[in-house]
Symmetry: C2
Subunit: 312 residues, 2 copies
C-alpha cells in the first residue's frame, strides 16, 4: 500500500485539572500530552497498519521528543518532521467548562510547527503517496495555505484526497481566501469528514439531501457526516449507513474527531465494507473520548477488529 | 520622584510539581504564575513605592490579563504594555532537578513579549524617566538589542542607568555583538547587579579587586555583587558592605535575583543608607525564594522596613 501523508501541527497539550478552572489564576494542570489534530489523525491511521507520515516541525526540546517518540512508537513515519532550533514545540493549554465548551491558549503558528514552508515540500516523494489528507485546521497561516495549494498541484492525479474541514463556518465567513481554498479541497476529495453545518456552508445548500447531491456531482465518493452525540452517518451516491454513538463515559472529547477520521480512512483504504469502516471509526472515537489526553485514546487495529465482531 | 522604566518580557510560568519530574511524559504542573525577569523586577520596585513602568507585550488572552492584573495591583504602570492580537502571552515551563539545576522550555522571543520593536519606543516620554533598568536577559533577539541601543542614545544624560547582565558568560562568549552591547551598558551604568563570574568576564580582569577598580574608573558608583548562597556584597570606591543570606526555607529560587535587584534599586532611589539598601534587597530575595512562583514572593515596603528594624 502507498503512503498516507498529512501536513500540519504537532504540539503538546496542557490540560486544566478541574472543570471551570480559570486561566486567570494558578491551578493544577496535567501534561504534556502529544497533540495536534493532524498528529492525532495520523497516529490513529498508523495504528490501522497503513503506512503513514506527517510533515511538520517540532522544537529541539523534550516536548518535541515526546511527540516524536509517541508517533514513532505507534508506527508513524516521522522522517518529514524537522527539528527546529530557533523555536520551541507548539503548546496548547485547554480548559473545560461545565457547559461542555472549551477554551484554549496556544502557541502554534509562532512555534516550531508553524515554520513549515513550501521549501519543506522538497522532501516529499510524491510518487510514494497514495493518499493525502487535508486537515482544515492546519491552514493556520498564509504559508500553510500556499503549502497545501502546491501539494494539490503537484500530487499525481491518481492520488486519493481525503478532507476534514475542521473549521467553524464563522471563521470561513470572515476569511474568503480560506473559504475559497476549502472549496478547492472539497472539489478534489474522494472522501470527506464533515459536520452538517460545514457541509451546508461549503455547498451553499439548504438541505442535507441537496448538499449531498452537490458533493457527489463534484466527484466525492464518500461523505462521512460527524453528528457528535448523535453518532455518525455515511453517504455515497447509492448507499447510506448510520451508527449511533457507542456508550462510553466521556472523559475528554479533544481529538475524538481526528481519531474517528484516522480509523475510518484506515479501514476505507483496506477496502473494508463501508458499514464496517463507520463502525471502526465509531469504536476509535469512543476510545478517544474515554481517555484523558488528545492522543491517549487512539486504538489498535486488534481492538477495532474485536469491536467489530458480531455481538460486541 | 521620576519614573523607573524597564523593557522586556512578561510571561507566565508553568512549574513542574515534583523534583526531577520529566518533560518527556505527562505529569502535574502548577501555574500560570506571572513571570519574566524584568516583570518581577519592576513588580518589586513598584512595591517599594517607586513610580515604575514596563514596556512589553502580552497576548489578548487570560494569561496576559493575569500578568497585567498582578502588575497593576502591585502599582506598576502598565500603559506601555501593548496587547498583541496575533500572538499569545509568553510561557515558560520550568522543572527543578535534585542537583539544584533547572530546565526550561519557553515561548518568549516568538510570543507577544517578543514583538517589541523600536517603533514601540514612540510611546516613551523620556523626560519623565529618572531611572532606566537594563535586564540583560531581555536582549533575546536582534531587535531587542536595537531597542536598548536606541533608548540609551535617546535617554537624557542625567537619567540613571542600572544594569543586571543576567546572562551566563558562555552565552556572551558565543555572541560578540551581545558582549559588546553589555560592555556599552556597563560603561553607562551608575549601579550594577552582578555575579563575580559576570563581573570578571565584563571587565576582563583576574581578581575582584581589579574588576572593581575598572568599574569605578568607568563611572559606576555602586557594584552590588550577588553571591547566591553566600549572600551579597556592595562596593563603592570607598565603602563596602557584606550581608550573609537570611535563613529561610528555599522553596523556589526563580525570580529571587530580580526581586533582590528591585528592592535594592527602590531603597537606593529613596537614598537609604547603602547598608540598608543591601539589607532591603536581602529581605526581598529571602521572601522570593520562600514562595512558590517567580513573582509570588515580592514583598511590601512595610515588610521590608520591618525586616530592617534593629533586632530583627
Amino acid at each position: 500500500m502507498k503512503k498516507a501523508v498529512v501536513i500540519g501541527e504537532i504540539l503538546v497539550e496542557i490540560m486544566a485539572d478541574r472543570t471551570d478552572q480559570s486561566f486567570l489564576e494558578a491551578g493544577s494542570f496535567q501534561g504534556p500530552y502529544p497533540s495536534g489534530a493532524p498528529a492525532i489523525f495520523i497516529d490513529q491511521l498508523a495504528k490501522m497498519k497503513v503506512p503513514s507520515a506527517i510533515l511538520s516541525g517540532v522544537g529541539e526540546d523534550d516536548f518535541g521528543t515526546l511527540c516524536l517518540n509517541r508517533l514513532k512508537e505507534d508506527g508513524v513515519d516521522t522522517s518529514l518532521v524537522k527539528r527546529v532550533r530557533e523555536k520551541a514545540t507548539g503548546v496548547a493549554f485547554v480548559r473545560y467548562n461545565s457547559d461542555g465548551s472549551r477554551n484554549f491558549i496556544y502557541h502554534i503558528d509562532n512555534a516550531a510547527c508553524g515554520t513549515t514552508t513550501r521549501a519543506d515540500l522538497a522532501s516529499l516523494n510524491y510518487e510514494s503517496i497514495g493518499t493525502f489528507h487535508i486537515m482544515g485546521s492546519s491552514i493556520f497561516n498564509r504559508e500553510m495555505y500556499e503549502v497545501h495549494r502546491q501539494v494539490l498541484r503537484d500530487l499525481p492525479k491518481e492520488c486519493t484526497i481525503s478532507f476534514d474541514p475542521n473549521v467553524r463556518p464563522e471563521i470561513l465567513q470572515k476569511d474568503p481566501l480560506l473559504s475559497e481554498l476549502m472549496q478547492e479541497f472539497f472539489g478534489r476529495s474522494a472522501l470527506v469528514f464533515i459536520t452538517e453545518e460545514e457541509l451546508e456552508f461549503l455547498t451553499s445548500a439548504d438541505s442535507l439531501k441537496e448538499s449531498l447531491e452537490i458533493c457527489f456531482d463534484k466527484g466525492i465518493e464518500t461523505v462521512v457526516l460527524k453528528r457528535g452525540e448523535e453518532g455518525a452517518s455515511l453517504y455515497t451516491r447509492d448507499k447510506e449507513f448510520h451508527q449511533p454513538p457507542l456508550k462510553v463515559e466521556a472523559v475528554d472529547p479533544t481529538g475524538a474527531g481526528d481519531t474517528f477520521a484516522g480509523a475510518f480512512l484506515g479501514a476505507w483504504l483496506k477496502e473494508w465494507p463501508l458499514e464496517n469502516c463507520l463502525k471502526a471509526a465509531n469504536a476509535a472515537g469512543a476510545s478517544a473520548v474515554s481517555k484523558r489526553g488528545p492522543m491517549e485514546g487512539t486504538i489498535s487495529l486488534d481492538k477495532i477488529e474485536e469491536a467489530l465482531r458480531p455481538g460486541f
